[in-house]
Point group: C2
């Protein structure tokens, strides 16, 4: 059910999401859905939580085993590209676009999740600048925002066109960071 909801959220966004379609795709009716989730909002929040957890375990783990901040950021880009080959990944982007700057529980949750990612990137950028692996430039937070945005945008545009998605995501990230060339994978 979560998977079906994620697929539909990716495709149609929250407003256009039709619960009966979600339930049918999962082999149930709307009754079952309302038995498992409080309401539409609860469903969306659960999906967000689920996707975030999956991201953490798949991409986060990959990032942590890198040698330095610059490598971690590039690995994050590559990992995110691979992660987004499944269609569920656009959930965050879709919901952010739909609720950005609005006072809605879902908007806040999306904001919170992407904010932790941006903060993480900003920390890595600062660390990389200290150890010399990333050149100076605009404020770390602005660079982090651009990095995450560029990453999501390019990955969605490529829509899982393996294997170029991974390389191009890494290249874009390196460019935003101001790295002259890609560190070896």
């Amino acid at each position: 059910m979560l998977e079906a909801a994620a697929r539909n959220l990716s495709r149609y966004g929250y407003g256009n999401l039709v619960l009966e379609q979600v339930a049918r795709e999962a082999g149930y009716t709307r009754g079952a859905l309302y038995h498992q989730f409080e309401d539409k909002e609860d469903l969306a929040l659960r999906v967000l939580e689920w996707v975030d957890e999956t991201w953490r375990s798949e991409v986060g783990a990959l990032v942590e085993q890198q040698p330095g901040p610059a490598a971690e950021l590039i690995a994050l880009a590559r990992g995110h590209a691979v992660f987004c080959r499944r269609d569920i990944s656009r959930v965050a982007m879709a919901l952010r676009l739909e609720f950005s700057g609005q006072d809605h529980p879902i908007g806040r949750e999306v904001e919170r999740i992407s904010e932790t990612l941006v903060k993480r990137c900003a920390r890595l950028i600062n660390a990389g600048r200290r150890d010399g692996s990333i050149p100076p430039g605009p404020p770390a937070r602005a660079v982090a925002l651009a990095l995450v945005g560029a990453l999501e945008g390019s990955v969605i545009a490529l829509a899982g066109q393996a294997p170029h998605d991974e390389l191009l995501a890494a290249r874009g990230a390196a460019g935003v960071l101001g790295l002259g060339s890609l560190p070896a994978p």
Copy 2:
């Protein structure tokens, strides 16, 4: 009226767009809106057309006066970043996300507009590779897709944080293209 519609489309997308709100923001009622436009779909298509025209005259003009393909692509990135400081710019992104892969007139129109942009970039990439200003890499179309996606994503994430948006957009574009460093602005 077009401007109000563009603002609301940017913020809420098509599905969540409420025509009465659009009309009120423009100082009219829904009656006036239905007098000027056939229906909701027609309004969205007109907005798309209007935004596209504005983009062409502002960014397109800037691009054409560049010396070579690589400079043109970087100018496109910078120009797009500046263009997107107004909130109307997210219209294309919002509608694309909402209608991508669907058989809907609006989806087709959005697809058509962004396809011409991608094709334009792909041509510039090929030209740049021929004259040596852009290194070889993945297929030009894939690179173009990534470029446009990264551009839109980063610009939206930065949300008009002048002046960093322009530099970071250019950097990201250069990275995707595989340029070691930015050509002089």
